[in-house]
């Protein structure tokens, strides 16, 4: 599939600006007369609001305004619901409780805004917080997912009968029948705790209302610029065209920046209109932990039924999913868990049930992995316990159950986050497993190295895990490709970019079609002034969906260039070809016309154009797949554990990944490694911890630990398999979340293997050395 530039390891177009400090990020924007916002947030997780007195704060010099719920009048209402209810799944229950923009009457999570302060600068805005008096009557908080559903539990939303936010059951085959016939049934309670997206750049918003032009410009760190624009316009009663959302360079997304209904999104545009001055809000790191969404936090009651030979007959998984105090993002995360639990295995009977729960914690929405790591963790742990029970090698039990290549396309019978039945489109799962075993020298480690190490008293273990990643889901994305009079190409698409390299990979796709240099393609993402159709950057769909739209548009422009070129050169269309930024007559390079000249001529200022011909070297195209393309892979790692201190050193990490056609191997490797980084964090470092009263205990990087360079594997091997997806013309699948998905499960397996004497069964993630030591103390055998 690789072409002149497509499929090549091309360094990125955007780098020189980023590397020299010239790239513009949200907090780099300065506008004349700009004011600064800060949120006064509740310290309590659950409380009744009796009175909020901001009168003293308003008097502070430099404070322009202080607003509470009262001041926002009818703007204070829940919503919008960003993702609709899963009505496609029969019998499902979903109680929509979208976010409140500011707490009114009641506080439901610690960090919920009670007031917004607007001041000359952020220092003064923070000073004003000392002068606000909030009289709150604390209420008992609910944080335990299971206790939350017990009768008599405090209610997060008092208009509901319980804290149940949603109930979704899906089944293929009949698990109970399968279990009755099984030789072995293993039941486990498994926990997957919460982690943050923790992008290096916190969120931010700059809003400018031009009162005379009646136009609003919003710079935002959003992954969903178009939905953000649309919801702001609707709320303010403006035409969409009066609102322009621009994403500057964004310092990482990882999921939470998809939110378009958080308090800042809702309130700041209103305030900017009221005050007729630009407003900037830059979230600080503590706020990022308190008031930017995070993810995971599920409790699973899972079962696996197998034959004596380790063949899976069925899997059952009933799980509690914490949605936090509200559920604005619908059921994306737990539905992803349902679709990724049995992932790459042949599981004829599968029952899965979501019990989504409201708690007095902040909202859960997707973070890199988005429900997939939870499902994969559950399944892979079950397989490990089964292997232990059956005395089988962990790699072997996986090999026996992986879906065979000839099974594709494989309908899963389970409806996913995109509300269509999941279909595994293509892949070669056994080959990814075989390759990863080869690159990490699995057999050699098991048979030669490990026995020697164990004889020396060393504790080195290996883990091996398989996974899938549902990616590139609909509904659609679009792109417009334009050749300018300078012969250079502009690509505009609706998704936004947080570091993925769209400015380069989309340029590669267009450049390949148009025969220009990648550097001569200017890619615009995330600016509704340039392109205003699309859903956003999520679910590893940028490349597969928007990238395909770019391809489709570029193909149209190519055809147009050949048509126009042939006409201008006075030959027929089949006599011309593209060569080095020109349209040339085949076999006669002396007769050619540069693309820029064609573009100019295709946009005449006099004369007429023929009916049916659109002017300019420009085309717009859209792409929406029937269902998402599924990537897959296998990972293996070797860890060395100090059995006294439980210090863990990851010596080697290998991943063999298949995301279909590779557009840029260099960037792909970066995406995979980045995912692994978060996966390692989710396994041993990162944990969002609330206490039983709903207080967040990890609101700084002192306590929320992001893996450092010395925490990462000392050696990393990344390899690719290319099984093109039949779902799009280039055969691409997504990869953004891949590394994060299998890593915690693989880490636990490797730990168990390293500490083999203790016969651990680690049914939780993340761990830390203290917790690992505790598990060893509780282990049945020493």
């Amino acid at each position: 599939m690789a072409g002149r530039v497509f499929g090549q390891s091309i360094p990125r177009n955007e780098d020189p600006y980023l590397l020299t400090g010239q790239a513009k990020f949200i907090d780099d924007i300065e506008l004349p007369g700009m004011l600064h916002a800060a949120f006064y947030r509740s310290d309590y997780a659950h409380a009744r609001i009796k009175k909020i007195d901001v009168s003293e704060a308003r008097k502070l010099p430099g404070v322009i305004a202080v607003y509470t719920a009262e001041d926002f009048g009818e703007f204070v209402r829940p919503g919008p619901l960003q993702v609709p209810p899963p009505t496609a799944i029969k019998g499902s229950i979903f109680h929509a409780r979208p976010l409140m923009p500011i707490a009114k009457d009641k506080v439901r999570y610690s960090g919920e805004p009670l007031a917004v302060i607007i001041a000359e600068n952020r220092y003064i805005a923070e000073d004003a917080m000392d002068y606000i008096v909030a009289e709150l009557e604390p209420l008992p908080a609910v944080t335990d997912l299971e206790k939350a559903l017990e009768p008599g539990a405090p209610l997060v939303h008092e208009d509901l009968e319980s804290n149940l936010a949603a109930l979704v059951k899906q089944e293929r085959g009949n698990y109970e029948e399968a279990a009755a016939k099984a030789d072995v049934v293993i039941k486990k309670k498994i926990y997957v705790d919460r982690g943050a997206g923790a992008a290096m750049e916190n969120r931010g918003l700059v809003v400018n209302w031009d009162d005379r032009a009646r136009e609003m410009t919003i710079w935002a760190t959003t992954q969903a610029p178009i939905p953000l624009r649309n919801s702001i316009a609707t709320r303010l009663g403006l035409f969409e065209e009066q609102v322009r959302v621009i994403t500057p360079f964004i310092g990482g997304g990882f999921g939470p920046k998809i939110m378009t209904s958080q308090p800042d999104d809702v309130l700041l545009p209103i305030i900017a209109m009221w005050l007729k001055r630009p407003i900037k809000w830059i979230e600080d790191r503590r706020e990022n932990f308190l008031a930017t969404t995070s993810e995971r936090d599920q409790i699973h009651y899972a079962e696996i039924a197998l034959t004596r030979d380790g063949i899976i007959l069925g899997v059952k998984d009933v799980f509690y999913h914490n949605t936090g105090a509200y559920d604005p993002y619908g059921m994306t995360v737990p539905l992803n868990t349902q679709t990724h639990t049995v992932s790459c295995y042949e599981v004829p009977n599968f029952y899965t049930e979501i019990r989504m729960v409201f708690t007095n914690e902040y909202v859960v929405t997707p973070v890199r992995g988005a429900g997939r790591p939870e499902g994969v963790f559950v399944m892979e742990r079950l397989l490990d316990y089964a292997a232990q029970e059956l005395g089988m090698d962990p790699a072997e039990i996986r090999r026996r159950n992986l879906l065979r290549k000839e099974r594709f396309p494989y309908p899963t019978g389970i409806i996913g986050q995109d509300f269509v039945e999941g279909v595994l489109d293509s892949g070669d799962y056994p080959e990814t497993l075989r390759r990863v075993m080869e690159v990490i020298e699995y057999e050699k480690f098991r048979k030669e190295i490990q026995p020697q190490l164990r004889a020396q008293g060393k504790h080195k273990g290996i883990g091996i895990v398989c996974f899938t990643e549902g990616t590139a889901v609909g509904p659609y994305e679009g792109a417009r490709v334009t050749v300018g009079a300078n012969g250079k190409v502009t690509v505009a698409t609706g998704i936004s970019t947080q570091g993925q390299g769209h400015f380069t990979v989309f340029a590669q796709i267009a450049a390949e079609q148009l025969g220009v240099d990648v550097k001569d393609v200017n890619v615009i993402t995330g600016d509704t002034g340039h392109f205003h159709w699309g859903a956003g950057t999520f679910a590893s769909r940028g490349m597969g969906v928007a990238g395909t739209a770019v391809y489709n548009a570029a193909v149209k422009v190519r055809q147009k260039a050949l048509q126009f070129g042939a006409r201008f050169l006075g030959v027929s269309e089949d006599e011309v070809e593209l060569c080095d930024g020109k349209v040339c007559v085949k076999g006669d390079p002396s007769r050619s016309m540069p693309l820029g000249e064609i573009a100019l001529k295709a946009n005449p200022t006099r004369g007429t154009i023929e009916p049916g011909v659109e002017p300019g070297l420009e085309a717009t195209a859209y792409f929406g797949p029937p269902y998402g393309a599924t990537g897959a892979g296998a990972v293996a790692m070797i860890v060395d554990v100090d059995p006294e201190t439980m210090a863990v050193n990851i010596e080697k990490f290998a991943i063999v990944h298949d995301c279909g056609t590779v557009v840029n191997p260099l960037l792909l490797e970066g995406q995979v490694m980045g995912g692994v980084h978060m996966g390692i964090g989710n396994a041993f470092y990162e944990k969002i911890k609330y206490d039983e009263n709903g207080q967040l205990l990890t609101a700084s990087l002192m306590d929320y630990l992001i893996p450092q360079a010395t925490d990462m594997p000392k050696e990393m091997i990344v390899e690719h398999l290319e099984t093109p997806s039949p779902l799009n013309p280039l055969g691409m699948k997504g990869v953004g979340e891949a590394g994060a998905i299998p890593t915690p499960a693989c880490f636990m397996q490797a730990l168990e293997d390293a500490l083999y004497e203790y016969r651990l069964q680690i049914d939780e993630t993340p761990l830390n050395p203290s917790r690992l030591w505790e598990l060893v103390q509780q282990a049945p055998k020493k």
Partner: protein, 207 residues
Amino acid sequence: MQLEGEHVFKGPREEVYAMFRDPEVLATAVPGAQSLTKIDDQHFEGAMNIRIGPVSGSFSGKVEVANEVYPEKFTLIVEGRGAPGFAKGMGDVELIDQGDGTTLLKYSGDVQIGGTLASVGQRMIDSVAKSIIKTAFETLDKALEARLAAKAGSAPVEFKAPTEAEFAAAVTKDMASGLSKVAEVRMLFYVIPLIVVLVIVAYLLSH
């Protein structure tokens, strides 16, 4: 956070009790107290500045005494709030006459810490709380000693407020100052739970 512990006072229960009734003791155990107002026999409001090393803050608080069984036990419900966060606790305090002239104070309770204190200070809460409890008891020991000495001797022995007391130098010193600028607005009582519990206990009992 669960708090539980005990402390032996070298003095008879009546004296310990009397000490707790003495408003001056309040100042000793709660250095930094700016004001305390009695609402009624069971309810009090107060304000203080606290400084522990680099951490400082003004707190305003409310105290409620319940289940009082004179002179053996009572329950304290304490709530303090300030810019750095809040603390909310409920503790049972029991005074046991040990029959040898000493009194055993037992306390057990549950304290919630919230806000910035909890969200960025969790690493410090345990050791700071322990340290404050320790220091508060040391201060009260001194106070009791002074009172007993005063009673026994002819010349009244004056007990120095802990801001001056040498052994409590660190805590008291740190607490004595605080927020100068914003302190006025709405202040505080109490960061670390136990001291409040104790202190307040003392205060309450004294009324």
